[in-house]
């Protein structure tokens, strides 16, 4: 009998530590499938962030390093410049990439570092127990916006893909979601493209994945998916923001 579905080789065969309904597991799997399909697992160095996905270093079956909070793009830069023949990706949440690490992501993108960034945006701080993120939606209730995010004093949620797309140097910037099978197929394609850009030596690539946090949103996994569709996608439109191949 033909085996049509199995665990990607690039994922270590241990259970994830993520909450039920959280999208980290799907995202890990998609990255691992891409590493398998390109046959680059043995040449890949991954960077785990600070946050729930700090444990990503356990799950990917390639060389991994844990970066300081927000600094993954700088650490990735140091690795890639010393090992230009390796494939380097960072995996970062919204607090990591869009708050404490804003400077690092903007400048790595602007230098056109030949790295791939997977940016997981779930509009909240997960590991610390549900505080406001720079991507938390207006009116959204969190531990540190207990009366809802008030744009008058807390600003508006930051759209990182749009912000980074104002730079000339990044090669590929895309936003995807995972709430439907059709979205997941598109997300996989985007991640694959992002790695393809790096394999071809073309420059900085980033995929933002809209993601759920049922635990800290206080919703069931199904409700969380529905909330993401209804509230996040209208504010964070899906699609490609930058694709240097099409531009040229």
């Amino acid at each position: 009998m033909n085996k049509v579905f199995s665990r990607p080789k690039s994922l270590v065969d241990i259970p994830f530590t993520y909450c039920p309904g959280c999208h980290h597991g799907i995202i890990h799997r998609l990255i691992a499938e891409v590493l398998d399909e390109f046959n680059i697992r043995e040449d890949t160095i991954g960077i785990a962030p600070v946050g729930c996905s700090v444990f990503a270093y356990l799950f990917f079956d390639c060389d991994m390093i844990c970066a300081a909070h927000g600094r993954a793009p700088a650490t990735a830069t140091g690795i890639k410049r010393a090992k230009p023949d390796n494939i380097v990706f960072s995996y970062q949440g919204d607090g990591d990439l869009a708050s404490i690490g804003t400077a690092e992501i903007i400048h790595a993108a602007n230098r056109g570092e030949k790295i791939t960034v997977i940016f997981v945006n779930n509009a909240i701080y997960g590991m610390t127990g549900g505080q406001m993120a720079p991507t938390t939606l207006e009116g959204q209730i969190t531990q540190t916006s207990p009366y809802g995010r008030d744009s008058k004093t807390m600003g508006m949620p930051i759209r990182m893909c749009e912000l980074l797309s104002t730079l000339n140097t990044p090669s590929y910037i895309s936003r995807v979601a995972l709430t439907k099978p059709s979205y997941i197929i598109k997300a996989k394609k985007a991640i694959k493209k992002a790695f393809q850009f790096q394999i071809d030596g073309k420059g900085f690539s980033l995929v933002e994945v809209l993601s759920t946090c049922p635990t800290n949103w206080g919703l069931s996994p199904q409700e969380a998916n529905e909330w993401l569709d209804k509230n996040m996608i209208p504010y964070y439109p899906l699609g490609e923001f930058k694709n240097s191949e099409e531009v040229s």
Binding site: E42, D63, I79, A82, A103
Partner: protein, 351 residues
């Protein structure tokens, strides 16, 4: 023998780093060490396979160092006091991950934005850890441009030997002054291979993980204990210079720029019939406690002089164990101590 060339301190560090095989530099401009950043740009951007990046911040720079160090590349960053403060989180990560790198601090007056003139006010930060957690840097304190060269090369080797970040602790005066230096033929230090831990391609081996944390307290305790053992071993690396130590009336303990000044004080004092000895620590971590303790038995007075409110002073007192009297003379804020000031202080003490 290599030819002597006249070089500015900051640039000499850069050339020494390249001489030592450093091919990766990440930094951010700050006075009074910016010539070093510029020198590395000039040199490394012309070497194939090397990397120079003017980072967006000192924080980014040290985290780039962390990345390159994890791949086994010989890598450095440099800055001056406020910039070194910004790097501390990254340095702590590098120490926890047991990776080698060089951090150069050409100190300036502090605290805060302070001044841009030379100072020695970062001694505590340099020798006692600096960032969070239990760790030490290997700290070398040059007092001439030639020593900036020699100790930069040595710092890379010690960092590799112990898989621990090393620091060259100079100051704005050493960085700005020019002296003739030579780049001696490199001795092949017997250093451990990086092949068994560096990140890269995992073909034919298990994937490696550089993980500067452990949520299991007992496991983290084991890691901290392992790091602690290295600091015990490092005590073998103690280095110091003894000057005019034949039955002195008083001993001065000073490092770096102040040690230079104290040499002149010794000459001046001789003319007045006062015999001053000098113990100059070259390694600030590990600190030469033993030799200071031995001389504490032989002399009635030790004078510690620093361009600070008295930081190394605490280590000297620990070394002396109350066996003799310890005084202190310091200037801060970027004021360089003069030989006459130290001599006056000596006379006051001996009166």
């Amino acid at each position: 023998m290599a030819e002597k060339v006249l070089m500015k301190g900051n640039e000499a560090i850069g050339e020494a780093a390249i001489h030592a095989g450093c091919r990766y530099y990440f930094g951010y401009p700050i006075t009074p060490q910016s010539e070093l950043t510029a020198y590395m740009a000039k040199r490394l951007l012309k070497i194939e396979g090397a990397a120079f990046i003017q980072a967006e911040s000192e924080i980014a720079a040290i985290n780039m160092v962390y990345g390159t160090a994890a791949t086994g590349g010989r890598v450095m960053t440099s800055s001056s006091s406020p910039g070194i403060s910004l790097k501390q989180e990254g340095i702590s990560y590098i120490a926890c991950a047991e990776l080698p790198c060089l951090v150069v601090n050409m100190q300036r007056g502090g605290p805060g934005l302070g001044s841009i003139q030379p100072a020695q006010q970062d001694y505590f930060q340099a020798t006692k850890g600096g960032g969070h957690g239990d760790y030490h840097l290997i700290v070398l304190a040059p007092s001439s441009v030639q020593e900036l060269v020699d100790l930069t090369i040595k710092a890379f080797d010690l960092a590799d030997k112990y898989r621990n970040p090393a620091m060259v602790l100079g100051d704005g005066l050493l960085g700005q002054m020019m002296e003739p230096v030579e780049f001696r033929e490199k001795k092949n230090a017997d250093l451990p291979s990086k092949e068994d831990w560096a990140l890269g391609s995992c073909k034919g081996r298990e994937p490696r993980k550089v993980v500067p944390f452990n949520l299991d307290p007992y496991e983290l305790e084991k890691l901290v204990a392992k790091i602690g053992k290295k600091f015990e071993k490092m005590q073998d690396e103690v280095e110091y210079e003894l000057i005019n130590m034949d039955n002195p009336d008083i001993i001065i303990v000073a490092y770096g720029t102040v040690a230079r000044v104290a040499r002149t004080t010794i000459q001046k004092a001789k003319q007045e019939g006062i015999n001053i000895g000098l113990i100059r620590p070259i390694t600030l971590y590990p600190f030469p406690y033993k030799i200071i303790n031995q001389y504490a038995d032989k002399v009635k007075h030790i004078l510690v002089s620093e361009m600070s409110l008295g930081q190394m002073l605490e280590d000297v007192k620990l070394a002396v164990e109350g066996k003799t009297k310890v005084s202190f003379y310091g200037r801060t804020g970027g004021v360089v101590i003069s030989p006459t000031e130290i001599l006056q202080e000596v006379k006051k003490i001996l009166k």
